[in-house]
Each structure stands twice: as structure tokens, then as C-alpha cells.
């Protein structure tokens, strides 16, 4: 592949190993290492070597595509670079008197001239920019205080004064004059040319690499960037299912579920891992929601080496393992010889027990199965819904037993728990003591086991009504809540030549399809009958032939495929990160640059990516500054473009540079940046032009742009006016300006989206910055939005700390590029509205330039055709993305739900949390398109309508009482919480940006986090005990009961912790026990606690340890790191705390009881 074009770059990349040994080794050379690290297919088995080695290599050949991307100029410059490699360094740099002009003249040697000649605006910039350049010089002159004079000579066409910013280095070297400075640079450069260029043989093109994975099917581990290798899941012996947030924390543990068939049985460490993973998969199979909790017990018995395959294979039969504890013996599965004959005989006994998916002779087994329980459990049809199910989840090994018992015992009870009528006005403690779990769909056990985890995929109604009329009668919203790119503890990753999909609707094969016979399967979404391809007949896990229903695709509802080149429109892009930083006076005052640069320096090696990763920086005030970081330069070079009306890129190909090749320069820049602008007087901000420039810079590849902005954009395209009237902040009537003021940002976002670029916005401002308009840039380009009101590194240290923690997560979390997500559903259902950050490219296709693990989505559904002829509906989300390692992958989630025909069943299956999140999304839309008061009315009406609809179905109802089914009993409480949420509240002073930010959060947060934002959790923490505590990573985490959000629960003697998602408050009562204050807070008594306290000291006492471990546990793996505020009962900060007590009355809003009365009044009307 284009040796001449690529040659300079391999040469350059060949220098990686000497320069940054460790990092490069972990990136590219790791596959060669034998360790259990990221790549586990290192075993001696057949072909595993190809994949990783090709994988390691192809980053280098990516160079060729990259040249290919960056059209003209890119190709041009690769030549001059080549020629320079000989004389570039010695040439210009050894002439110390030449000053800064030299690098430019150097690059204007023969080849490079073409490139410069190509940039038409260059000459005119000289004219127009000279004046403004002076300004820039002065603003930047502090950099080289002694060198202000030479600047005049720097002014070449480029207006690129090449500010040699390494001020400090000058000082430290004790070389005061600039001349000396450059001499120094010459010295430092002199070492470069001496490095030989051992040009690597160009690796095979990655296409070939893609093809080398021809091997029938390998199951590979996910390469998480932050993969920790070891299975932390193993260390959870607790039988309790981990709460959703905890599962996050387990994410890093996934270390390859995989590699069974090809992987190394000979390597003890990997093998151990394998088994563990495998058994954790067993656990997952047993119980999808209970991922990898109870793996340790099975591991021990399955460890003998020769048996490892058996263990592995046994692992894929959940029932076998669960029934016969941990003895994989019954399934010998001897040699890797896929003999078709013995296979059908071996699992024969189990077939009888398991009709679904096993016995293909039977037609549509899925249906058979599903209909039986429906018919048997007639009207309520959901025997012992939540209660028994949770029990079953907790003891996955006992699923079978408990199911039969539960079925027997509870079937007789006339009404399921979720339908038990609750008199809301009578029930004083409506909030349960334990966190609310997602209801489990009323499916038979096999389907339930296979079903998608509610953390990734939830539906507001777990019983889908048969017709739209029935849905209308129920007055409940129908929709899906998605968290598709969630960090998972384990995930089957499948490589195969053919990804089996339905030929008409393109659905991926999933656990809910039915096999008509060995050769045909019936799509569960469109009911088309498809052929089973030959390759699919072979099962690499069992190494058997003729069991398509036991392939991992059919055994797991969440799988990831490695996609072939059919799924690429272009070669997978590298990870590209661009940082666009506001450096106007306001920004420098706030001091965020220090925090950002520090975080970046710390996490530079942890940025997800491979050896192709590229990074770039831009800063802007009233002009736009680019930074040339091309390797070989002695210092980063600053290029200023002052023509903001027609932005151009001064040197298109050296602004985004390879992270590993230019790491030293990047570090120099990051060290220098915080001090570069300290004396700036520029108050304007040209955000729009800077974004346009960023778009131009990113459009050849796509990637992620992180924009830091601290004020209202005031110059150039996209400038905004202040629209907020501070007097209206607490108005109860109209809240205006919730929508964008201009379509500039939306258009730009769509352009970015088209070029696979996502823009993440960090807004750190103390004043109104029109987030409503600015947010569009992220909303439609699939970015994310962070907002730090009144950020100041000195005056507001808690915000600075929060930014730092958020950045850590932001920089190191997983990322997927050039993604699209398609949601399919069973024929008869249709999606009509989408919520989240993306662009809907066509009816069911969401275009996501980037996808991150913290992005949630919501979809509204309607029932177009009656679903009478089916008893199950399925939803499938397929997320196609390029991983940061340049692999094209498809993550598929499939959810299966029953269809019901009676209203009572619909109510029995309400998932109240999902419903409230969907309603919140709808309300945001409504308040932007119509008005806030409309949205509030709609929320209240949602409660009124659904409760009155329920009331009319229950005949024997005393009309004076407000009755709700048990599944809906929290509905009014949550709606009230929504009405008091920042996004929707009225009457309380709320800054417009805060409100808009809350709305953005509602739109793009996944359900678990959104719920905390809507309804915070309150715990009493002064009496934490180990009762019911869970064990996480050898830490004991106490589980105090939830308290209702009311001041009546706050006693003066206690201390309470409130978890609001993005903030923690610890409220200390006036007469709180001094022991607690001393043991946990480290102060002798209440009076001595300071007003602003954001940390718990690490004290060596039991109660401190408990409190800290509880808080750490709550905090783990939140997208936004919560800041802890210790609030004293008397401090002014307590209003912050008290406004979250939503059951209480405030001046402007109902208490919970009043709200119930209001609802009741409305119903009776």
C-alpha cells in the first residue's frame, strides 16, 4: 500500500519504541507478551497469533489511509518531511542566529513550498493581520519578555510568530537571551538525527488483517482501554445482586470472557482467568441481571488444567452447571473435533427439560413457551411478580427450584404483588427501604434468563398492550430507555465471517428467534424464515456441529460482533482528540487551564487509542491560535489566525499530531499553557469561528472535539446576546428562552455529525452563557455537555475538584467513533420520537459521531397494528462503532417482552422509573417546543390520567380514596419530584443556564443516574452498621435503609447523607452525637465543623471507615463525579440541601400530601 507515501511515517513511527518504550509496548507490542494482560488469545492455539499481531501492526499502515484522508496537502507534505529528515534538524537549527524564522524557512524548502503556496489566504493575512498581530504579540509577549523585539522578524506569511513558549526552560537553563534559547534548541535537536530509522516492514494492510480473522469463530475479549486484567467480579462472593451502580464498578473486570476455543490451555494464568470468566458467564447465563457475582465458588472446582475445556464448554449450558453445582464432567466434549454425530445425542436429556431453543423439531418453541404461562396464570398471569423474582435473582443457582416452588406457591394467590391496590393518601411511607429494582418481565424462566439486563435496556411497560386502544386506555407512556454502551463486566465478543441477520429486516440473530429446524430460523421481528448459514452450524464453544441454537449469539441477549469490512464505509478511523480552549481574560481568571492541563498530563497515557491516536490543541480569544506540534520541532509552535470571518488552517497536517510521536512536545505545551495567557486583556470570545476551524481540522478523520468555554461568545459567527432577565428567574409564569437563539450551532453540529466529529462542551462560567444555544453543538453531534457554574479554581475549590474528577473519567472512559445505532422492533410497533444526543438520520437510524459509556437514550413507541397474533415482542438495538483501537464492532442488545390483552396486566407490568424518565424527556421537549407551564401541566395530567384510568378499571373502589396499583405507587411521588426538579420548577429562583443544563441532563443521562437526579436518595449515616452489608473488593459496604425525602426524617441527633447524583450532601444535625463528629469528621464538636467542608478525613475508626466505604461505593463510576458537601444545620448552604426534600412543602410548591389531594381533586372532577 503506497510505499512512497507511507514511507516517511513508518520511518517516523519506527522511532516510537526507543522514545517511549513502555507505552508503545503496551499499545502495539503487547500481543507478543505472554501475560494475561489485554490480549488473551496469546495461547499456542491455532491462529490466534494472526489477529493480535496484525492488530498490532496495522496502526502503522494506517498512515497510508491518513495520507489518503488529508487530501492534497497531506500528501504534499509527506515528501518534504522525508527530505527534511535528513537535513532538517542539522540545517535550520544549528544556525542559532536565525531565530524563529528558521523553522518556517526550513519547511519552505523545495517540497514544502507547494503546501504553503496552496493556502491562498496567507498573503492577505499578512496585510490584515499585522495590526492585530501586534495585539497578539503584546498579549503573548510575557512569554518571552526579553524577546519582544525579535518578534518583528518572526512575522512571516504565516503570521505565525512561532512563540517559543517554553519560557521556563529558558529560565531553568539559565540562558536569558533568545539566541541562546535557540541555540539550546539546536542542541536538543542534535540528538534526534542520530537516531537511526529502522524502518519497519510495512505491515499488511488492515483489510487483510480483517480477513485473517477468517477462523470460523473466535470469541475475543473486549479490549477495554482501562482494562485491569483481573476479574474483580470474582471478589464478590455476596449473594446479593449488585445494585446498578455497582455493576459499573465492575466494568473493568471484564478481561475477556472469551477465547475459549483458541486460547491457551497451557498458560496457567490465562487459563485461570478464562475459567473465571467463563464461570462468570455462567452466572450471567443463569441470571442476566446478576452479572458475574458468584463466579468464585465454581472456579475452584473447575480449575484442573486438562479439564479446562470441559469447564469452559460446560459453562455455556447454564442449566447443567446450575443444576449440578460445579461439575462439568457430564459434558465431556473431548477433542476439538466438531463431529456432528454425537452432538445431538449428548444434550438430548436436557432438551426435554428445556423446550425453548433446544428442541427444534417443535415449531416456534418460543411461542409455545411463552403462551403456556400466560394461559395458566390466567387473569393476573404474573405469579408472584416482583417478590419471587428478586428472590430468584439473588440465588441464581436455585433458579429452577425456586421457580417451580414459586410458581406453585404463588400461582394460587389471586393477585400479583404489583397489582395490589395501594391507597396513596393513607400510606404514609410510600418509599420502600431498599432501592427500587426494575420489574422483571413476566416471561417464562428460560426467556427471562436470556433477556437483556435492565441496566442496558428497559421498557416503560414490561407487559406490552395488545393494541393502541388498550395503551390509550391505560394512559401510560410506552417507550424504551437505552444505555447501549454501558461499561460491562463481561460481554461475549464474537468474530465470525458471517454475521447472521434476517434477510428482510436485517435483525441480528438473537436468543428469541426460533429454529424451525437445523437449517432454518424464523426472525422474531418480522417473522421471515431465514436459512442458517453453514458456518453458523459449527459451535466453537462446544466444538460441535449442528447446534446453531447453542452459539453464543443465541445464548446471550447482549453480544458484540467484530464487524467485517462490509460494515465500513472507509477504513476505521484512529482516535482523534482535539481540545479547543477559551483563553480570554475571563477564562484565565477562572483558572481552569491549570486543572485541565494537569489532568491531561496525568491521563495522557490513558487516553483510549492505539498507536495511531492523534491529538491537537487550539486556543481562542478574539483570535484563534493553533499549535504546531509536529515532531521534530524543538518547542510547540503557536500559529495565530486573526481572520475570524474566514477561518483557515495554517498548516493542515501538523496541527493534529500523533500522540506518541510528539508526546514530548505535547507535554511541553501542556506545561506551558496555563501560564501563557496570564496577562491577557482580551475579553472577547470567538467561539463560533473556533468551532468552524475545529470542524475543518477534524473533518478528514472525525473524532472528538472538547470545547472549553467560559463566557457568552461575543465575536464572529455564532455570537450570542444575553437573553436572561434576572428578575424573571423565580417567575411562576413564563420561562422564556429555553430554545436556541440561533441555528448556527445546530447547523455546525449537523456538519460535524456528517464528518463523524462529536463536540463535547465544557461550560465553566459564572455568568449567563446561553447554554440553550451552545448546547446544540453537542446535542446534535452526539457529544456531551458539562456545566460548572461559577467555576473558580481559588474561590470555588469544590468545583475545581469536580472538574478534575470529571475530566479523569472523561479522558479515560471508553469511546466509540463513527457510530450509528439502529433500533428495531417487532412488526406492529413503531418508534416515533427519540431522546438523547444524536442526529436522527433516517426513521430508525441514529447517527452518533461518538458514543461514550455515559450516554443514555430514550425512544417513544406506538402500536401501529394490533399485536393479537403474537405473544412476545422484541426490541433490538444495534450499535455499530469503531473502537478506539480501530476495530469495527457491533454491540447488539435484544429485549423480549410479553404481550397482554387486559388492562390489569398492563398496570401490573409498569416500570415506574422508566416511565418517569421517559416522561421527563417528553416534558423537556414540551417545554422547549411549547412552554414550561404546558410541560408541568402535562406531567400532572400524566398522573391524573393514569390513576383515574386505573380507578375506572377497578370496580370495587371507594371513590373517595386515591388508589394506585402497587407498581404505580411511586408514580405521584416521582412526578412531584420532577416538578420540583431544577428543570421544571417554577417559583424558586433558578438561573436559566442551570435550568437548561438540567434539561440537557435529563435528555442524555442513562436511567440509573437520571433517577438519582430526579429523586435523590437519603440515608442516615450516623449509625451505620454491618447489618445487610455487602462486600465489594474486600471492603464492607454498609447498606443503610432509604429515608423519605422529608424534613420530618431529619432528627437533630442524626447525620444524613443525600445522594443527588451529581452532589452528595451530609447534613449534620445540631445535637449530633459528638462521637460521630469526632470519629467521622475529625472535629471535636458541632461548633468546630467548618462551613465549607468537602472531604471526609481518613480516620482510623470504624464509623469513619464505614462512612467512607459507603460513600466511595456510591461514588464509583458515576459519569459526573459527585462533590461532597458537609452541611451544618445552621449554615446558609442548607437551603441547597433542603430544596431536595421534595416531600415537603415549599413556598412555591405542594408537599407530597397536598399533591396527592390535588391529584385526587383532578380525578374527581
Amino acid at each position: 500500500m503506497s510505499a512512497p507515501a507511507g514511507s516517511p511515517h513508518p520511518a517516523a513511527s519506527a522511532r516510537i519504541p526507543p522514545k517511549l518504550g513502555g507505552a508503545a509496548a503496551s499499545g502495539a507490542a503487547a500481543p507478543a507478551g505472554p501475560g494475561p494482560g489485554p490480549h488473551q488469545q496469546n495461547g499456542p492455539a491455532q491462529n490466534q497469533m494472526q489477529v493480535p499481531s496484525g492488530y498490532g501492526l496495522y496502526p502503522q499502515n494506517y498512515v497510508a489511509p491518513s495520507g489518503h484522508y488529508s487530501q492534497g496537502p497531506g500528501k504534499m507534505t509527506s515528501l518534504p518531511l522525508d527530505s527534511q529528515s535528513g537535513d532538517y534538524y542539522p540545517g535550520p537549527y544549528t544556525v542559532p542566529t536565525q531565530n524563529v524564522v528558521t523553522p518556517n524557512t526550513a519547511s519552505q524548502q523545495p517540497g514544502a513550498q507547494q503546501m504553503y503556496g496552496r493556502v491562498p489566504p496567507a498573503p492577505h493575512v499578512v496585510g490584515s493581520a499585522l495590526g492585530s498581530f501586534q495585539g497578539a504579540t503584546s498579549s503573548a509577549s510575557h512569554l518571552q519578555t526579553s524577546a519582544s523585539q525579535p518578534y518583528s522578524s518572526f512575522v512571516n506569511h504565516y503570521n505565525s510568530p512561532a512563540m517559543y513558549s517554553v519560557n521556563s526552560s529558558v529560565a531553568s537553563q539559565g540562558l536569558p537571551s533568545t539566541c541562546g534559547h535557540y541555540a539550546l534548541s539546536a542542541v536538543s535537536n542534535a540528538s534526534y538525527p542520530s537516531v537511526p530509522y529502522p524502518s519497519l516492514p510495512a505491515g499488511d494492510p488492515y483489510r487483510q488483517q480483517m480477513l485473517t480473522s477468517q477462523s470460523a469463530l473466535t470469541v475475543r475479549p473486549i479490549r477495554e482501554s482501562s482494562l485491569s486484567g483481573q476479574n474483580t467480579a470474582v471478589s464478590h462472593p455476596s449473594p446479593l445482586p449488585p445494585p446498578p451502580s455497582q455493576q459499573y464498578q465492575q466494568q473493568q473486570s471484564l478481561s475477556g470472557y472469551s477465547t475459549f476455543s483458541w486460547s491457551a490451555p497451557g498458560l496457567p494464568s490465562t487459563q485461570d482467568n478464562l475459567i473465571r470468566n467463563h464461570t462468570s458467564q455462567v452466572a450471567a447465563n443463569n441470571n442476566p441481571t446478576n452479572t458475574g457475582v458468584d463466579s468464585s465458588s465454581t472456579t475452584s472446582s473447575a480449575s484442573p488444567m486438562p479439564n479446562s475445556y470441559d469447564a469452559l464448554e460446560g459453562g455455556s449450558y447454564p442449566d447443567m452447571l446450575s443444576s449440578s453445582a460445579s461439575s462439568p464432567a457430564p459434558e465431556p466434549a473431548p477433542e476439538p473435533d466438531p463431529a456432528p454425530a454425537p452432538v445431538p445425542t449428548v444434550p438430548q436429556p436436557s432438551k426435554l427439560a428445556k423446550p425453548f431453543g433446544y428442541g427444534y423439531p417443535a415449531l416456534q418453541p418460543g411461542y409455545q413457551n411463552a403462551t403456556t404461562p400466560l394461559n395458566s396464570g390466567v387473569p393476573p398471569s404474573s405469579p408472584g411478580y416482583s417478590g419471587f423474582q428478586q428472590y430468584a435473582q439473588q440465588y441464581p443457582g436455585m433458579n429452577q427450584l425456586s421457580s417451580s416452588l414459586g410458581g406453585l406457591s404463588l400461582q394460587s394467590s389471586s393477585q400479583p404483588e404489583s397489582l395490589r391496590p395501594v391507597n396513596l393518601t393513607q400510606e404514609r411511607n410510600i418509599l420502600p427501604m431498599t432501592p427500587v429494582w426494575a420489574p422483571v418481565p413476566n416471561l417464562n424462566l428460560d426467556l427471562r434468563k436470556l433477556n437483556c439486563s435492565p441496566d442496558s435496556f428497559r421498557c416503560t411497560l414490561t407487559n406490552i398492550p395488545q393494541t393502541q386502544a388498550l395503551l390509550n386506555k391505560a394512559k401510560l407512556p410506552l417507550g424504551l430507555l437505552l444505555h447501549p454502551f454501558r461499561d460491562l463486566t463481561q460481554l461475549p465478543v464474537i468474530t465470525s465471517n458471517t454475521i447472521v441477520r434476517c434477510r428482510s429486516c436485517r435483525t441480528y440473530i438473537n436468543p428469541f428467534v426460533s429454529f424451525i429446524d437445523q437449517r432454518r430460523w424464523k426472525c422474531n421481528l418480522c417473522y421471515r424464515i431465514n436459512d442458517v448459514p453453514e458456518e453458523f452450524m459449527y459451535n466453537p464453544i462446544t466444538r460441535s456441529y449442528g447446534e446453531p441454537h447453542k452459539r453464543p449469539e443465541v445464548q446471550n441477549s447482549t453480544v458484540e460482533f467484530i464487524a467485517s469490512s462490509d460494515y465500513m464505509l472507509r477504513p476505521p478511523q484512529p482516535a482523534v482528540y482535539l481540545f479547543v480552549l477559551d483563553v480570554s481574560h475571563n477564562a484565565v481568571e477562572a483558572g481552569y487551564l491549570t486543572v485541565l492541563c494537569q489532568s491531561l498530563l496525568e491521563n495522557l497515557d490513558k487516553l483510549p487509542g492505539d498507536s495511531r491516536t492523534r491529538i491537537g490543541f487550539m486556543t481562542f480569544d478574539s483570535t484563534i491560535h493553533f499549535y504546531n506540534l509536529q515532531e521534530g520541532l524543538s518547542q510547540p509552535q503557536m500559529l495565530i489566525v486573526s481572520d475570524i470571518d474566514d477561518v483557515f488552517l495554517p498548516t493542515p497536517d501538523s496541527l493534529l499530531v500523533n500522540l506518541h510521536e510528539s508526546k514530548e512536545l505535547i507535554k511541553d505545551l501542556l506545561n506551558a499553557l496555563p501560564n501563557m495567557f496570564t496577562n491577557t486583556r482580551e475579553t472577547h470570545s470567538a467561539l463560533g469561528p473556533a468551532l468552524q476551524a475545529a470542524f475543518k481540522l477534524m473533518s478528514p478523520t472525525g473524532g472528538r472535539v472538547s470545547v472549553f468555554q467560559t463566557q457568552l461568545p461575543s465575536l464572529g459567527a455564532g455570537l450570542l446576546q444575553s437573553r436572561e432577565d434576572p428578575n424573571q428567574r423565580s417567575s411562576t409564569k413564563v420561562v422564556q428562552h429555553l430554545g436556541p437563539a440561533t441555528d448556527f450551532y445546530k447547523k455546525l453540529a449537523l456538519d460535524c455529525s456528517g464528518q463523524q466529529t462529536a463536540v463535547d462542551l465544557f461550560l465553566l462560567s459564572s455568568q449567563y452563557s446561553d447554554l440553550a444555544s451552545l448546547a446544540c453543538i453537542s446535542r446534535y453531534s452526539a457529544g456531551c455537555i458539562y456545566y460548572y457554574p461559577s467555576f473558580h479554581y481559588m474561590h470555588n475549590p469544590s468545583q475545581a475538584e469536580k472538574l478534575q474528577k470529571d475530566l479523569k473519567r472523561y479522558l479515560t472512559r471508553k469511546i466509540g467513533f463513527e457510530a450509528v445505532m439502529r433500533i428495531r422492533c417487532t412488526k406492529g410497533l413503531s418508534m416515533h420520537t427519540f431522546h438523547g444526543n444524536f442526529f436522527v438520520r433516517s426513521t430508525d437510524l441514529l447517527s452518533l459521531a461518538n458514543i461514550n459509556p455515559d450516554a443514555g437514550f430514550a425512544v417513544q413507541l406506538s402500536i401501529e397494528e394490533s399485536l393479537t397474533d403474537t405473544s412476545l415482542v422484541c426490541f433490538q438495538t444495534a450499535l455499530l462503532y469503531t473502537s478506539s483501537k480501530g476495530e469495527r464492532r457491533i454491540r447488539v442488545h435484544t429485549l423480549c417482552l410479553p404481550v397482554v390483552s387486559s388492562l390489569a396486566d398492563v398496570y401490573a407490568g409498569v416500570d415506574v422509573q422508566a416511565a418517569i424518565c421517559l416522561l421527563a424527556n417528553m416534558a423537556v421537549d414540551r417545554s422547549i417546543s411549547s412552554s414550561l407551564s404546558d410541560a408541568r401541566d402535562a406531567l400532572v395530567n400524566a398522573v391524573v390520567d393514569s390513576l383515574s384510568a386505573y380507578g375506572s378499571t377497578v370496580s370495587n373502589l371507594q371513590h373517595s380514596a386515591l388508589i394506585a396499583p402497587s407498581s404505580l405507587k411511586l408514580f405521584p411521588l416521582y412526578v412531584l419530584a420532577l416538578l420540583k426538579q431544577k428543570a421544571f420548577r417554577t417559583g424558586t429562583s433558578t438561573r436559566l443556564d442551570d435550568r437548561v443544563y438540567a434539561m440537557c441532563q435529563i435528555k442524555c443521562q442513562p436511567l440509573v443516574h437520571l433517577m438519582k437526579m430526579i429523586h435523590p436518595n437519603l440515608y442516615r449515616i450516623d449509625r451505620l452498621t454491618d447489618e445487610g452489608a455487602i462486600h465489594v473488593n474486600d471492603r464492607v459496604v454498609p447498606q443503610p435503609p432509604l429515608q423519605k425525602l422529608s424534613a420530618e426524617k431529619l432528627t437533630r441527633e442524626g447525620a444524613f447523607l443525600m445522594d443527588c447524583g451529581s452532589a452528595f450532601y451530609i447534613w449534620i444535625g445540631k445535637s449530633c452525637d459528638n462521637n460521630f463528629i469526632e470519629d467521622v469528621l475529625g472535629y471535636p464538636n458541632f461548633a468546630s465543623i467548618p462551613q465549607k467542608m468537602t472531604h471526609l478525613p481518613e480516620l482510623d475508626t470504624l464509623s469513619s471507615e464505614r462512612a467512607r466505604s459507603f460513600i466511595t461505593w456510591l461514588r464509583d463510576n458515576r459519569p459526573l463525579s459527585p462533590v461532597l458537601h458537609v452541611v451544618k444545620d445552621e449554615s446558609p448552604a442548607k437551603t441547597e440541601f433542603f430544596q431536595h426534600l421534595i416531600e415537603d412543602r415549599t413556598e412555591a410548591a405542594f408537599s407530597y400530601y397536598e399533591f396527592l389531594l390535588h391529584v385526587q381533586q383532578q380525578i374527581c372532577k
Binding site: 436556541p740 445546530k746 456528517g754 446534535y780 416515533h832 427519540f834 442526529f839 436522527v840 433516517s842 426513521t843
Partner: protein, 173 residues
């Protein structure tokens, strides 16, 4: 004078019919995923103002030439067109916004609107054609003029059938 007014209205009305058909075709293309939302909306937004202008001209012309009935008939539609244009929120990219069009059944309502307009313009077309104002020219030019609807018809029918076909096929899916 009368004749000029009606001939002009007739031509204008033809253009509006074409425009409506174009709207319907483009929207149904979007419905069937033949084009993406972005290009669909930019295509359609281009023609929103010409449509408003075209229709306002007819309305004003009728007012000036004192055809009260036709004026009153046209007035609500013209008002709706202008209202729709004015009420576009400042952050949207036009009457058709690519980020909104798939939400809340907007696509369907746009489609419905285009259909209604098509019907309305057809009605108007025949009204202008057989109106007393055109008595003379119609008598003289019965042949060519009666052909006019014929020549437009295929287009309409094309559009019409195309749409129904697609809808049918969609149903079949």
C-alpha cells in the same frame, strides 16, 4: 384584464401543484429512507418561500381584481403558510428542521399538509380554468387548455400513484 388575471393564476396554480407534488415525493422519500433528513429538509426549505410568495400573489391578485369568493377561499391557506413561516423557532433551520422532522410525528403531519394543499390547489386550478373570467380564451383555446390539465395530470398521477405505491409497499413491509 380579467383574462390576464386568470391566466396568470392558472399558471401560478400549476406551479403550486407541482410544488406540492414535489413536497409529497420528497417527504415520502424520507419516509422510505431514500434520502436522509438533512438533504430532504434543505431541499424542501428552499421551496417554502417561493410557495408562500406564489400563493400570496394569487390571493392579493384576487383581492385587487375583486373576486371575493376566490379571495376568501385562498385567504386561510395563505395565512396558514405565512403563519407557519413566521412561527419557526429561532433555533430551527426552517419550516422543515432535520433534527425535528422524525420526532412527534412531524413527518406525517407535513405529509398530510402537503396532501391537503395538493387537493386545494387542484380545486383552485379547475376553478380558475372554468371561471367566467376565462370564458373567452377557453372557448377559443379549448383544445390546448383542456390539454393543460391533461399534461399536468400525468405528473400528478405519477406523484399520486408513486405515493400510494410506496405507502402500500410500506404497509406490506
Amino acid at each position: 384584464m380579467e383574462t390576464v388575471v386568470f391566466v396568470f393564476s392558472l399558471l401560478d396554480c400549476c406551479a403550486l401543484i407541482f410544488l406540492s407534488v414535489y413536497f409529497i415525493i420528497t417527504l415520502s422519500d424520507l419516509e422510505c429512507d431514500y434520502i436522509n433528513a438533512r438533504s430532504c429538509c434543505s431541499k424542501l426549505n428552499k421551496w417554502v418561500i417561493p410557495e408562500v410568495v406564489g400563493h400570496t400573489i394569487i390571493t392579493v391578485l384576487m383581492l385587487i381584481s375583486l373576486h371575493w369568493f376566490i379571495f376568501l377561499l385562498n385567504l386561510p391557506v395563505a395565512t396558514w403558510n405565512i403563519y407557519r413561516l413566521i412561527m419557526v423557532p429561532s433555533g430551527n433551520m426552517g419550516v422543515f428542521d432535520p433534527t425535528e422532522i422524525h420526532n412527534r410525528g412531524q413527518l406525517k403531519s407535513h405529509m398530510k399538509e402537503a396532501m391537503i394543499k395538493l387537493g386545494f390547489h387542484l380545486l383552485c386550478f379547475f376553478m380558475y380554468l372554468y371561471s367566467p373570467g376565462l370564458d373567452l380564451p377557453v372557448a377559443e383555446a379549448r383544445e390546448p387548455l383542456s390539454k393543460t390539465p391533461y399534461t399536468t395530470d400525468p405528473h400528478f398521477e405519477d406523484g399520486g400513484t408513486l405515493v400510494t405505491c410506496e405507502r402500500d409497499s410500506e404497509m406490506a413491509k
